[in-house]
């Protein structure tokens, strides 16, 4: 019923002509149906109503590059004025950049970057370096400077995850030489596979001190594995997990801490950045964004609009957050 209504609305929109063309800002996540991107969508909607633009949220069902590409192309064709994409891979937007320019559509990245594609801005949750280093630093705070830490990642092809892993490895090499960071294992998008891999890692390395879940989809699996193995407190679990997903595990001790940022704010910032691009306003080194307590930094050299520093969630503060 809702779909028919949507169709009728689209129809009437068409007939009303493009004279009332509200400016449209879109966000294309890596995959729909996960709470993380859901939160970004909520932030984007809030920004849209604050800034007076229309927000479009459309994403692929699977982390399939073709599907994401098709969605982006469709949005360009629909003359959406600005499109922010959480790219699955750096080469995701390469084929459509020319088309976007020709149609006067601003294509930019958010949440996951394609650094060499010539995009005008990357709305970053935190620097990839900051994220990788924070999660390692916090882990070392809890397990000490010697020991083994395992990594359970999601899709092997996700460039943002791989970038964080790279920085984690660099951090360990430069600052914690007595920590062994095991090679990352990939669980795809499924919690049960993540649990299986986490359990196997713990079996293979009984002296394992920490497990890091890279993707929000692997968080429940890793935590569950630690709980089932009865290693709460012996193996410190962590990951880039949202407070809602991690709450139960932070309280039970399976997770020592998690690192994230506020995806709702990230979504808000994405739409705000889109509006800036549409209005042709350049980003200054420090930008005042409505609803943000601190000014948002912009690095003109790398084109990165930074949301802020990564946030660390623990048993103590997790209840303050609702996402």
């Amino acid at each position: 019923m809702r779909r028919i209504a949507t169709a009728v609305c689209s129809l009437s929109l068409l007939f009303s002509g493009y004279s009332l063309a509200a400016e449209k800002v879109a966000f294309v996540p890596q995959i729909i149906g996960i709470p993380y991107f859901q939160a970004m969508e909520a932030g984007g909607k809030r920004a849209a109503s604050d800034l007076g633009v229309e927000f479009v949220y459309s994403g692929p069902v699977d982390t399939n590059p073709m599907d994401q590409l098709q969605i982006v192309q469709n949005l360009i064709a629909q003359k959406v004025n600005a499109i922010g994409i959480s790219v699955l891979d750096a080469s995701s937007i390469a084929p459509v950049l020319a088309q976007a320019k020709a149609n006067n559509v601003h294509l930019f990245t958010s949440d996951s970057d394609a650094p060499d594609s010539g995009r005008p801005v990357y709305v970053a949750q935190a620097t990839d370096q900051g994220l990788g280093e924070t999660i390692i630093d916090e882990m070392v705070k809890r397990v000490g400077e010697r020991g083994k830490i395992g990594i359970v990642s999601g899709e092997a092809t996700a460039s943002n995850l791989n970038s964080w892993i790279g920085f984690m490895q660099q951090r360990v090499k430069s600052k914690y030489p007595h920590i062994t960071l095991l090679k990352p294992q990939y669980a795809g998008g499924s919690a049960s596979r993540a649990a299986q891999i986490a359990t196997d890692l713990m079996s293979a390395n009984p002296d394992l001190k920490g497990l890091i879940a890279m993707a929000s989809t692997t968080c429940p699996g890793v935590a569950q594995a630690i709980e089932t193995a009865g290693k709460n407190g012996k193996v410190i679990g962590s990951g880039f997990c949202s407070p809602n997903t991690a709450r139960a595990y932070l309280k039970s001790g399976a997770f020592g801490y998690t690192v994230l940022w506020d995806p709702e704010k990230l979504g808000y910032l994405t739409v705000w950045a889109g509006k800036q691009l549409i209005d042709g306003k350049a980003f200054s080194a420090e930008n005042r964004v409505p609803g943000f307590a601190e000014p948002v930094k912009f690095d003109s050299k790398t084109g990165v609009l930074l949301l802020g520093a990564p946030a660390v969630f623990t048993k103590e503060n997790v209840d303050q957050f609702k996402f």
């Binding site: 709470p35 294992q185 990939y186 795809g188 359990t199 569950q224």
Partner: protein
């Protein structure tokens, strides 16, 4: 007990794998690890059991994983209303219902099983998304977990349930007319009908049983992971088919090997676990699965061509 050559081969490979992995990794042959392997096999054991029946009947079902997902949603929702018994029962009931719908499409609609279940895979996946409202069902209460993980005589309740289910199916196959009818229908539908076997009812029943097993697997899944996401159960169907075929049940139907399926499931999980323990990156696991499947099948086919007269006997 009489074992077919395939079952013996699987057992040999499994033992070889265990020996090999134990040699290269001191952590493999520990009680903890072996228990882990068994625990990781829970859902696949149930789903592959259902798949064995479906394949023995001459069909195939690629939607089993998503059926488990939808059933898991039902279990999760009821768990949120604080009624663990109802939630536990919801799984099998929902599975039964979904199995019935599969049967309607494939048997009554007379669409070839692989195509019909392919279509249903898409429909259920969309259905699960709609039910989840685009979110996850996460952080479910552990009431079910407590119940199913509780140890009875040193073995968790879940393991007892799986064991009981396997025993019941085995008994049904051996000692009821349904078992005979299943194999006859799988062998040749026409001849079975001529012999007076109610083939249509048998096929509907088989899909419903497979659905029921998926539903039980859903309850186990919730108890273990307390989370339902849209991608639940995605690759389970293919893994189940691989396990069943490895086990010796012929894809053309008419034969059935429960022991083979059991060995197939365990072998798959042993390989996945062992490879990780000896340090081979997880990305190579599918390569090994595929290679093992192809090697087992082709070596048997190649050798049976030499001993054709033995096969006829």
């Amino acid at each position: 007990m009489h074992m077919t050559s395939r079952e013996i081969a699987l057992l040999a490979i499994a033992l070889l794998a265990i020996a090999g992995f134990s040699w290269f990794s001191p952590w493999f042959a520990t009680v903890d690890n072996l228990l882990t392997i068994l625990r990781n096999s829970s859902e696949l054991l149930l789903i592959a059991l259902g798949m064995t029946l479906v394949i023995a009947m001459g069909g195939v079902d690629v939607s089993v994983g998503v059926v488990m997902g939808v059933a898991a949603w039902g279990v999760g929702q009821l768990l949120l209303t604080n009624s663990p018994w109802l939630a536990a029962l919801a799984g099998p009931l929902l599975g039964l219902l979904l199995g019935l719908m599969t049967a309607l499409v494939v048997v009554i609609g007379r669409i070839p099983a692989i195509v019909g279940t392919l279509g249903l895979f898409g429909v259920w996946r969309t259905g699960l998304f709609a039910l989840l409202g685009g979110q996850w069902l996460s952080g479910l209460p552990g009431t079910l977990t407590g119940g199913l993980m509780h140890s009875l005589l040193g073995v968790p309740v879940m393991a007892w349930i799986i064991g009981l289910v396997w025993a019941s199916v085995w008994l049904v196959l051996r000692h009821t007319p349904y078992g005979l009818w299943l194999l006859a229908a799988g062998n040749s539908e026409e001849k079975a009908r001529l012999a007076g076997i109610p083939v249509t009812q048998v096929r509907i029943a088989t899909f419903m049983i497979s659905g029921l097993l998926c539903g039980i697997a859903a309850t186990c899944y919730i108890a273990t992971y307390r989370n339902v996401e849209m991608t639940v159960g995605g690759s389970l169907a293919l893994e189940a088919i691989a396990a069943v075929v490895l086990g010796g049940t012929r894809i053309t139907g008419g034969s059935c090997s429960l022991l083979g399926t059991l060995l197939g499931v365990l072998l798959l999980r042993i390989l996945q676990n062992g490879l990780l323990l000896v340090g081979i990156p997880s990305l190579w696991q599918t390569v090994v699965t595929g290679a093992v499947l192809l090697i087992v099948l082709s070596s048997e086919a190649a050798s049976s061509r030499v001993f054709t007269f033995r096969r006829l006997a």
